[in-house]
Amino acid sequence: MSSHTEYVTKRLHPINIGFKLINLGRSMLFPIIFLFIIKHGSDSAFTKYGRIAIILFMVISIIGILLNWLTHRYEFEERTLHIYHGVFVKSHRNVPLSRIQNIQKHATFLHRMFNLTSITLETGASGEEASVKFDVISYKEAERIEQLVESLASDQLVEENTILNVDKMDEEEPALFEKTMHYTVSNKELVKASFTSLSFVAIIPIVVSIYFNIDEFFSLDDVTGNLFSIILDKLWILIPLTLAFLLVSISIGLVTTFLRYGKFEISSDTNRIYLKKGILNVTSFSITKNKVQAIQFEQSLLKRWFGFVEVKLVSAGSVGDDKQETNSLFPFLPIKQAYALVEILLPNYQINLDMYKLPQKSLELKLLRPNYFWIIGSIILFSWKPEFWYASPILLAIILVYKYLVFFRTRYLLNDHLLQIKTGAFTSTLFVTDRHKIQEIEVKQSVLQRKFGLANIQLSNRGKPIHISNIDDLPQNIASRCYHWYAARPQNTK
């Protein structure tokens, strides 16, 4: 496959200069207004030198921006991305494309007006050099980079998997980039999502903060006092008032949900999964299928009642801010659809929901095990405030109920090459990973557990942060079976 091996060294899109200049202007806006407009008539030493300093700073910054743009180049060569930059200290950075764990694109409204986007290539490394980010790049170029990463990664797959047919290497694969759409969000689902996420409650802190902000400048105490007396006089006013408040909060909730999750799309091609969402700001996430470290199905209490589940693809690279939910297949997927989708996207993950519960003796041990938090808490309580003695049994009851729920909700299954673990007392998380993605296993047994024939297992998976999964108080024969199951992983590559 040498068709895409034209190695061109590229500069960033010239509009980068524009964006940088706008940013510079924005950050210098206040000093400029202060020194040139507010202090217009003044000719004190401070304003004089201040103005000179600002002009100098601006000139140097602008030259810096231009030079930076001139020296910042990148090129794809073989399986490496080369990045050159630096005016005085030249730096040259190599990023092997096989190390790229996921790609994120984020286009703000401003980006989209000019058909631009930002793109971040995440590697699994730690530290500042973990990702390569292009702040402003044309959408077309971003697509090209994404395809380049994918095609080079898949080339490598063909080569390193010697089990595969050798002639395949010369075969062009036109279907490689043909995306199939698997899911687009409907308006009905967005409305449901808006209520499930309680987005309509979001208005309350906003209203409160606006009230206190205004209150700081104009004392509202009298106004509120008057309002209260009017309302108390005519209680029926409360009804339209509440209705109006509800209406406004619900519509604000709907608008924010639509802006955030509107146009949610899940698609894939042979090697890659693509997630895309947002109406004003568009966020995209894509990951090579074999770089998915694990899948996580998360359900809050509310989502469980509504029958929704959030599916997350665990990546070894950073997935950005947790709130942005970049790596999440739509956060409010109907449960059945979620499992079906996962099977289409990742045919390896044939999840079996018929999982095992922990045995009765596991509950016995959990309840028997001394709870130091409660013991120490009670001792402190009895010695300082004995009149509140009843807090101690209440705390114990809460702890015992919690332990029972943890026992009651834990499920596990060794499903061929998959390990499935479900945990959580109130919110529940089903973690599914492939044997090859597990980094290590640990089986632990305390003296008490030995008496009961139970053991803990702990598995580590790559991810940011590193994903540690535990099953506590598992029957010891199951624990050792997990250990052997992991040890017997076929060494499929040399």
Binding site: Q439, Q445, R450, Q476
Partner: protein, 164 residues
Amino acid sequence: MYPHINEPTQRISPKATTMWKITNSIGHGVTLLILAILLYVDHTFSWIGWIGWILYVLTGLIFISAIYSIWIEPAILQRTWRYEVDDEHVQLKHGAFTQTNTLIPMTKVEYVTTNQGPFLRKFGLYDIIIGTVTSSHNIPALPADEALALRAKIAHLAKIKELD
């Protein structure tokens, strides 16, 4: 072990017991010394009552911990530590009361280093640290020649890489 996991075969150096006795004595000695100084200061400047109280409780706890970690723990730890390195895996097992078995596939090993502090040097021993992407593991107190050979062996075997 009770769960059916084959016990790793290799053991760590018997000198480890003596070494840990010395290092733990020093550690606890220093802590007790600091507490003694604090108690002395407490007495001469008569601090608020509960500070002295806490200091006495701490001293008592450190004393008990000293007995355990100087006279009991080193021997147990030395006796129960096992490891084994074959072509495919690194296996570790340690702990008398709480037993821990760890299995790391060779393909997941990222680095291996030997480490020697002043006490290890005195006894001609090395610690071996085996790191994966997610964590690192320490095999303590191996005789020098064994440790260096093991490091070379793991480094060689871990070159066989896996796609991830």
